[in-house]
Symmetry: C2
Subunit: 355 residues, 2 copies
Amino acid sequence: MTASGEQGRVTIRQVAEHAGVSEAAVSYALNGRPGVSEQTRARVLAAARELGWAPNIAARSLGTAKANAVGMVLVRPPRVMVVDSFLTQMLSGVEAELNRNDVALVLHLVDDFAGTIDVYRRWYAGRHVDGVIMTDLRHADPRPAALREIGLPAAVIGGGDPGGDPAVDGLDLTGLSSVDADTAGTAQGIVNYLRALRHRTIFRVAGPRELLHTVQRDAAYTAAVAAAGDIEYRCVYTNYGAADGMRATRELLSLTEPPTALVFDNDVMAAASLKVAHEMGLSVPGDFSVVAWDDSDLCQITVPEITAVVQVPALQAELTARALLTAIGGGGPTRLTLPPGTLTARESTRPPRPR
Amino acid sequence: MTASGEQGRVTIRQVAEHAGVSEAAVSYALNGRPGVSEQTRARVLAAARELGWAPNIAARSLGTAKANAVGMVLVRPPRVMVVDSFLTQMLSGVEAELNRNDVALVLHLVDDFAGTIDVYRRWYAGRHVDGVIMTDLRHADPRPAALREIGLPAAVIGGGDPGGDPAVDGLDLTGLSSVDADTAGTAQGIVNYLRALRHRTIFRVAGPRELLHTVQRDAAYTAAVAAAGDIEYRCVYTNYGAADGMRATRELLSLTEPPTALVFDNDVMAAASLKVAHEMGLSVPGDFSVVAWDDSDLCQITVPEITAVVQVPALQAELTARALLTAIGGGGPTRLTLPPGTLTARESTRPPRPR
DNA sequence: CGGCTCAGGTTAACCGCTTAATCACGCGGC
DNA sequence: GCCGCGTGATTAAGCGGTTAACCTGAGCCG
């Protein structure tokens, strides 16, 4: 702290001179390794602090063959609004864990999904990162297999419920870590809630079908509806965007047998549905109820406020990062499931109008 | 591509053997440097491709004393929704430019603003990055001076209009690069637009006062209003959040002399104001008009749709990244101003009700 | 034909840190 | 009194590139 801003960074050598020991001793001392007495260790530490030394990570990486960094490749454009909020929460969670372990986060945006694997390959070959974190797993996603082939440790945020059938998902997560929310539980919660309000026709506006995320929810809803036994369920897929949400909502509400409740895979589409209701002269929750899976401020600035499920992506991401670090450290892969999201009832849900 | 997944990465040495030349020749060839014939260069390149070689960045960094990376430190939590969208757009822009130059982006989130400078210091000392990109400059922000002292090249997204008075802003941007939008022009555009609609009382719900961003807009609006000469202007500061926006809106609309138009520093607050209008039994744009500075999907899913100013943060960020790379490369600092944002008129603005 | 130049290559030092191998030395045991 | 041993240190060999300095031979000139 004292001596910064000088030309030429402080190296271990200067610390060694200053403390009157060899460079190796400094290295041992600074890394908390045996081989030096507590006394010299203290002297070295003092010297390092005094000179404002910080390890040259390039040198360290070269020596240890570890990058002390993990990478994330995102596909540009990062979809839409909500997802932005999701993204920042995830980054926040990931970083929380990485910081704790002095591991850096390298971010990379690619234009097309296909480019992702090339980046992984380069990262591996160049020892750029020690592992990667993935999100937005897709149906038949080539990344898990590629990473296994490359030999790069990886963890995935929302990787799929344990027990997800590889044959169905088109992917094999062997060897990868993953942390997922309890999709089945959440869907059940939503269905039960609406059913308790006496809704029997629940339609869903989902995300893109390619996303594993969506497919998982498909399965979860289907199961929940089947368990209830007396509910009519139906689903259309979208791209998560506001315009998509509006189109889908219009379509579903125009059916001869319209639903009494609409559930959305994100908050933006749920909010957009209110505009459609307005257009069509319908009232929410008078004519139909609305539930959003994924909460945000947005759900509270609409009229009516939207009933939503609260998830904690930051925590999920944090645990994923932890799992990755364990895997990098040689521990086996972790497979974790978080408790279901909790539903916050607001103004957009109510028993259906008796007919 | 062919030979990946083998144990032990491919080094320059193996490429050299494979091509039948020395390691140095390989280095020259791969870096497009003179010293090898076109013929051997081609042979080396072929060998490298065939073996799937990629430079070990640690080794390269150590040799060249360049990290080939730039860093961004963000303060957690990343404020709110909109800003999330801003963030992703910025990252997208930054990455676009960095990718083009094979420079990595290192992201770091800190809990308190104060920690930022320590990170910069460590990054510099450890040659972690060659430069940093800043956002959200504050009044009396300590970062520019610190970076200058440390000697780390830096560029700031939205750094302040050239001509901004250091004495006023409490900061000195000497030596730093910055790319800003034409705040003055944008404010003028908004004021002119509303004035043309015959609004004479325009109140503003602004962001946090600590942000330079907000202060710049203060100056811009004040100037625009002064130029018009016949407008009553007034401003309250918030934290950008939906709740803040609602509170501020309520406050301003409850004045004995309420405004006929409200301008907001972001889209979330503008959207939230519609809810307040609803609460108070007022109509938009019947009772007052609404303009958002910063556009997003959000402005199009509300009823009425919100008139907004479109900015291009991605471009701004991209140019900032470019400026940083130039600075790192030894070029002088760049100071750039982008054209004003363009106003998109939607349903939330209309001439005021004659009284 | 000797010597100079220059393109095309090679050798080896170095970047800063890690770590295996080595060493000095004091001490207890036989 | 000598040997073996453990402790606390040092020495030196990499890690995988970059690059200054040096070498070699062909081409050219006077």
